[in-house]
Amino acid sequence: MRQERNNIFAGIDFILVFLYLFLVGFGWLNIYAASRTTEDVEFLNFSTEYGKQLIFICLTPPLIVLILFFNSKFYEKFSVIFYAFSILSLLGLFVFGKTINGATSWYNFGFIGLQPSEFVKVFTALAVAKLLSDHRQYNFNLIKNQVKAFIIIFLPAFLIILQPDAGSALIYLAFFFVLNREGLSLNYILLGLSTLLIFISTIYFGPETIITSLFILITFFVILIIKKAGKRYLRFNWYKIVGVYLLLGIFVFSTNYFYKHVLASHQKDRFDILLGIKTDNKGVGYNSYQSELTISSGGLNGKGFLNGDLTQGDFVPEQHTDYIFSTVGEEWGFIGASLVIIAFMLMMYRIIYLAETHSNKFGRVYGYGLASILFFHVIVNIGMVIGLLPTVGIPLPFFSYGGSSLWGFTILLFIFLRLDAHKNYDW
């Protein structure tokens, strides 16, 4: 049996490292473009965003060395402790947390603030990997096992919702991809998707239209089934059919009620703007409108680095954080923006590919967790910036300004690289 080598960089997948460096580096250039003012010239100015981000980036190599220093086994063994510590850090926010923009998501250490939710993702991924790899035959047909997994995933999500930071909590839905890979029925995802579909179309078309069309659709299917199965089907299953009708009716109307009366008005506005129910390019819709306009103005080649006049004029709010992709769109054009999307796609493909080559389940599950989390972040963030999804404030991995986010994703990625480098060794 082979033993792990002493060189901590041995076996590291350099394609992923290269993509990581590209995204972080290109990200910083765009943060520089989005946050610089004409007066300052110093890169290491700690009072500017790009200066701070440069320091955050400079702090990642020691972090990476530290991650790679530990043995793969270490992450597996300590995953439960890490997870417990994560939950404590989220709970601690309710006592020691600092409130910024209405959400208590931060620990304030004077010179630096840390956002635990950016790190909890990592440890949740480890915990899920641990859980699913614990038993040789982890069987998702058992409800008990499903519930275990759901608790691990949704406990941090629930605590994050309480901050309240619904956007960051949304990311935990990504674990459905992981569970599906490990045997959870696709029905969960389909159910989730159709719920979302009904939710959005109810908002858009109104509850009456949707309920009518759904009933017609179901009736159509029922008739089809009866035709096939004969009257026998009806004799035994009529309560199921009525149940489906009732459930849908209740769901559609509660959606409508939820949307109109429960949802906070700013969240309702975000849906309205996206669906075109409401146009308000100066008020609530300003961000989306400016962001789309800024991207459109880039054209094919973009206006060039530091030449994006809408970026330089600070027309897109939060451009160095959540809306950083609009800077890419304006200054680097269609080519640059597509390149970033492709880089993310390649990174995710590579992770899945590598994960599938792992002989042990822990590494594979963790890899899937990593890929799915990245995927959700990319969908939600870029989808918002290009006006396909409502405004949800979560960062673009490696790209957006922010130390917690950068370090969180760095840890997430490099633990995988550590596991991956050792996949062929016996633990």
Binding site: T38, F177, N180, R181, L186, I189, E292, L293, I295, S296, S297, G298, G299, L300, D309, L310, Q312, G313, D314, F315, G329, G333, F334, A337, S338, I341, I342, F344, M345, M348, Y349, I352, A355, E356, Y368, A371, S372, F375, V378, I379, I382, G383, I386, G387, L388
Partner: protein, 626 residues
């Protein structure tokens, strides 16, 4: 591999979707993106000076002056002593609040006009005090100045461009000035010049952060072009003074070029009234539709009057051309012309020659109605159908530019009316022949012309059969106009030889005929008087016939004519009593720069028809009479 399919597939789907969306935004929508016209680029304008305008002798008639606006940028205003400030600007507190709120509502971070066009004496004083009040400052603007208080109808005026025009035309921004009437409108393109543009980057707080593309796209302003008009401003002023107290129009044209020497509409106003602080107040006053003087209505271009007797020359010319009369044709007149069987179908005549044959020359000199009724009848009845005869007649008349817009270079006008056969054919239940439209023979009935059309008609006679389209622009930036519309003569349908007897007859008018009393020693004036009957109107329930319009057309000297003129004086009575002396005074003034009949001049200057006009006013709308 199969278990990884879902994630692979989802990633690919989302990637393709996102890149597709980028394509839609950046390639499809990006093509329509205007790099300069957006929120991040601020365009600042440097305004050119509007062109100056001179008369034909080089006298400056339209100039520019500086005006001072108080500007405000609300977000920079600090709390201030309103009372003191209002006293400084001579406004009350309510007005202060109204103005301030208007600026605030427009945009708090942008400057807007707080108080327009200060008086010059206020400016010097304010300049010293205003720096105490943050957010307020004074901005200079260039506005018009008219050194000579005359020719308002020609000059027109400039005012702020309409919102719809500013939206449609990229060259105009809201709040900029544009010519709205007269030459200011007609020659806006020359006068305006080109704005200088300076592009800068700005941020979302509208703060300028630096030049756009290092200023390579910036342009300098180029001033408007100076214009020279064909107007003789001294003559114009003199003619205006003669029209004081009267309503009507005078048009004087140089026959050899079509240049308009004077274009008078009375009553008029001082063009400076539509400049400066009192502008809006004055414009309401002047343009009020209930103002019976209608000072902004250009009677010389737009008023359509029956031409009366001067039109007899037209019928004589057509008669000669159509060969239905010649210089030796004579008709007898028995104090009028019986055109129908009934007793009232009779057109009276004041020529005073009863029963003896009247020849063409005498007919014109004495303005015999019967002669031209006969001539007109012959013209109309020359062809088998009166309709064809009248169409032919109308064609000749229109070749003199009557019955349609003449094509001169001022943005106001009227077509006038010259009836055709079709015109009467289309009248319902109306069977007609030469006799029933006989009034047209003496320029009454359905014929209508504007003063400028009649002046042009006179110029065509003076030229013996051709005319240049009348125009007001002589030079642009010192260079003579080259527009063929104004430099190529237009031929009438009457042969040159037929004009000789007509000119002789018109000469006779001033020697022995109806214009005899207005002849000037040493100047051979040829002309024709006219006295136009007004139709009966019902004013306050009483049938009223307003006094006749007094008309005269003339040109002088007889050989090599220098000036052709048409004078209309509304309700002035006989053509010989008012219009004739006015025109001879103008002709003398223009040709000799002297007045040999100071008594006549004094009488005309003092003459006011205001009483006559007041009588026609309906008491119901007359202000101050109730």
């Amino acid at each position: 591999m199969q278990r990884s399919f879902l994630l692979y597939f989802s990633i690919t789907l989302v990637g393709v979707l996102f890149i597709g969306r980028l394509f839609q935004l950046q390639i499809l929508r990006g093509q329509k993106y205007d790099p300069i016209n957006n929120a991040a680029v601020k365009t600042q304008y440097d305004y050119p000076e509007r062109g100056y305008v001179y008369d034909r002798n080089g006298t400056l008639i339209i100039a520019n002056q500086l005006s001072y606006d108080v500007m405000v940028q609300p977000n920079e205003v600090t709390p201030l002593d309103t009372l003191e400030f209002c006293a400084l600007l001579k406004i009350d507190k309510a007005s202060f609040l109204k103005r301030f709120n208007r600026a605030q509502n427009y945009a708090s971070y942008l400057p807007s006009v707080f108080l327009k066009q200060l008086a010059k004496e206020d400016y010097a004083y304010l300049q010293e005090k205003l720096h105490h009040y943050k957010g307020f400052y004074i901005q200079k603007r260039v506005i018009r100045e008219y050194p000579i208080k005359s020719a308002a109808n020609i000059f027109g005026y400039i005012s702020e461009v309409s919102e719809s025009k500013a939206k449609k035309n990229v060259d105009y921004q809201q709040g900029e000035l544009i010519g709205k009437a007269g030459i200011e409108k007609e020659y806006e393109a020359y006068l305006r010049g080109t704005k200088g543009k300076k592009y800068s980057h700005k941020n979302r707080f509208n703060k300028v952060t630096g030049p756009y593309k290092n200023g390579v796209l910036d342009t300098l302003p180029s001033n408007g072009k100076d214009l020279t008009l064909t107007i003789d401003i001294e003559l114009q002023q003199y003619a205006e003074s003669l029209m004081k107290g009267k309503r009507g129009g005078i048009v004087a044209i140089e026959p050899s070029s079509g240049e308009i020497l004077a274009l008078v509409s009375a009553p008029s106003y001082d063009p400076n009234m539509l400049v400066g602080r009192k502008r809006s107040k004055n414009s309401v006053l002047l343009m009020n539709p209930k103002n019976p003087d209608k000072p902004t209505y250009d009677r010389s271009l737009m008023a359509q009057y029956a031409p009366g007797s001067p039109f007899k020359m037209m019928n004589a010319l057509i008669g000669l051309q159509e060969n239905v009369i010649n210089a030796n044709t004579a008709f007898r007149c028995y104090e009028g012309y019986q055109y129908g069987r009934r007793k009232n179908e009779f057109m009276g005549c004041h020529c005073g020659i009863i029963g003896n044959p009247i020849y063409l020359k005498t007919a014109i000199a004495r303005s015999c109605n019967s002669y031209f009724a006969n001539t007109f009848k012959r013209i109309v009845e020359k062809d088998n159908k009166p309709s064809e005869g009248l169409n032919n007649w109308s064609k000749h008349v229109k070749s003199f530019g009557l019955g349609d817009y003449l094509g001169y270079d001022l943005p106001a006008g009227a077509a006038g009316r010259i009836p055709t056969g079709v015109f009467y054919d289309n009248r319902i239940n109306y069977r007609w022949n030469a006799s029933s439209v006989i009034s047209n023979a003496i320029g009454q009935g359905d014929v209508e012309t504007t003063p400028i059309q009649l002046a042009n008609f006179t110029a065509a006679i003076a030229n013996k059969g051709f005319f240049y389209t009348p125009h007001i622009l002589k030079k642009v930036a010192g260079e003579a106009i080259k527009n063929k519309k104004y430099t190529v003569p237009k031929k009438t349908s009457i042969a040159a030889k037929h004009f000789e007897p007509i000119i002789e007859a018109m000469h006779e008018v001033f020697k022995t005929g109806t214009g005899k009393s207005s002849q000037i020693k040493g100047i051979e004036i040829c002309g024709k008087t006219g006295t136009v009957e007004n139709s009966i109107k019902i004013i306050d329930g009483v049938k009223t016939q307003a006094p006749d319009h007094s008309i005269l057309v003339a040109f002088a000297p007889k050989d090599n004519p220098k000036i052709a003129i048409a004078v209309f004086v509304e309700n002035g009575g006989y053509g010989s009593t008012i219009a004739a002396p006015i025109s001879s005074l103008i002709i003398e003034k223009y040709l000799t720069e002297k007045i040999s009949k100071p008594l006549v001049e004094k009488r005309i200057l003092a003459l006011s028809l205001q009483e006559v006009y007041d009588k026609q006013k309906s008491k119901e709308i007359a202000p101050g009479t109730k």
